[in-house]
Amino acid sequence: MKSDKSSVVVIEASELLTAGLIRTIDDSASFRVTESYPDVAAYRKRPSEAPPAQIIIINPALLADSRRGGVKALFPDSRIVALLYSYINRDLLQSFHEVIEIYDKPAAVLHKLESVMGHNSHESSGSEAGELSDREREILVAVAKGMMNKEIADLCNISIHTVISHRKNISGKTGIKSVSGFVVYALLNNLIKEYEVK
């Protein structure tokens, strides 16, 4: 029987938690738990012709023995959600599309599942890692000199929207949010001279 609900597979060792998740998810209008497994090995035994689940909810601790960074390789066709209730390495967590914590309210869990289905190209949004690009450095200097977003947009021939998104990325990379902070950054890195600061 075909259903309009998105299919969810739960991989979790605790029967209590699995039962709670199934209950929460099956009560919703948009999702349905189609299968559940206590560990990855059991999941692997499912018939290969079975269609991949749209969402996999899995306790990251169960992946400890599998290849490093292999979550996506393991479930290439699914959105992967971590079920979290113990400490976990941040890098490992980054390969998940979303995280559910066991104290999340049912509504929050469903909301997260919905957002995970909605954003198909979520991965590229976070650009926290890495050095500033030339363009970003140029904009940082302009901000430090006291220019407004509109002025910067005119100067660089880009839209205000683009300026704002560059500024967000600059803050993401440097961790600096205030204009005064940008001034200090620019001065310390010799990107501007003191007299250029307003």
């Binding site: 961790g175 600096i176 949010k177 205030s178 005064s180 902070g181 200090v184 001065l187 310390l188 890195n189």
Partner: protein
């Protein structure tokens, strides 16, 4: 009973154990005019001795110790608002006279080993931050707290509403977090690492304390005042 992260403090607990479990509470005590040296006294006994409202004191200790803790609405209504405001004012004084003063001094010590130009940059940045914090505290003490005092005395000022405060409750912690990033990532390596670490520790501690302070204002003060405002409007 075994230590457990979900265990909240209670009146029957030895006051010394509260501080032993969370040393940051030691810096909260002076804001209640409570002195160390409790011997074996319980938290309730200490509160009685110093004339401190026990419900509020416990709430503050719990907020300082458990990130997820949030007092139930019924508990909020038991709080003595005048005492709460006294506590906030005392905190302001503690922050400016001790925490910020210490960071400023340590920053100076650290910068003494840096290039002259960098020293000037850092000092300018910090004095801007300091002024921002002082302005923020002044606004609360000269506008928000007197408004609440009037409200408690039964006189409602129609020109002001606690929502305005909420809107003005802007982020003063951006600069503090920027300073952390600057010290960790961008100051040249030739600055003394010991002095750097000392400043960093001070900033982290202050940041944590400020975060609790903001939570007390947002999660306790504002909801209580909103209730009082509602009661006034019904009249």
């Amino acid at each position: 009973m075994k230590e457990n992260k979900y265990l909240l403090f209670s009146g029957g607990m030895k006051m010394a154990d509260v501080v032993l479990r969370n040393y940051t509470i030691a810096s909260v005590l002076p804001r209640f005019d409570v002195q160390l040296g409790f011997g074996e006294k319980t938290l309730s006994e200490v509160c009685r001795k110093y004339g401190v409202n026990e419900e509020f004191f416990l709430m503050v200790c719990n907020i300082h110790s458990s990130d997820d803790y949030f007092p139930a609405p019924a508990e909020l209504m038991k709080i003595d608002v005048a005492g709460l405001i006294r506590y906030l004012e005392k905190s302001h004084a503690y922050y400016t006279e001790h925490r910020i003063a210490t960071i400023e001094r340590r920053l100076g010590d650290m910068a003494a080993g840096c290039e002259a130009a960098h020293r000037v940059i850092l000092q300018k940045f910090f004095s801007e931050y300091k002024q921002e914090v002082i302005n923020h505290f002044d606004y609360e003490e000269s506008t928000v707290f007197p408004y609440i005092g009037e409200l408690l005395a039964g006189r409602a000022n129609v020109d002001y509403h606690i929502n305005q405060y909420e809107e003005n409750h802007s982020n003063i912690d951006d600069k503090l977090s920027d300073l952390k990033n600057i010290i960790i990532k961008y100051l040249p390596e030739n600055c003394s690492s010991e002095a750097r670490n000392e400043v960093l520790t001070d900033i982290f501690l202050f940041e944590e304390d400020l975060d609790k302070h903001t939570r007390i204002e947002d999660k306790i003060l504002i909801p209580i005042v909103r209730e009082i405002e509602k009661a006034h409007e019904k009249r």
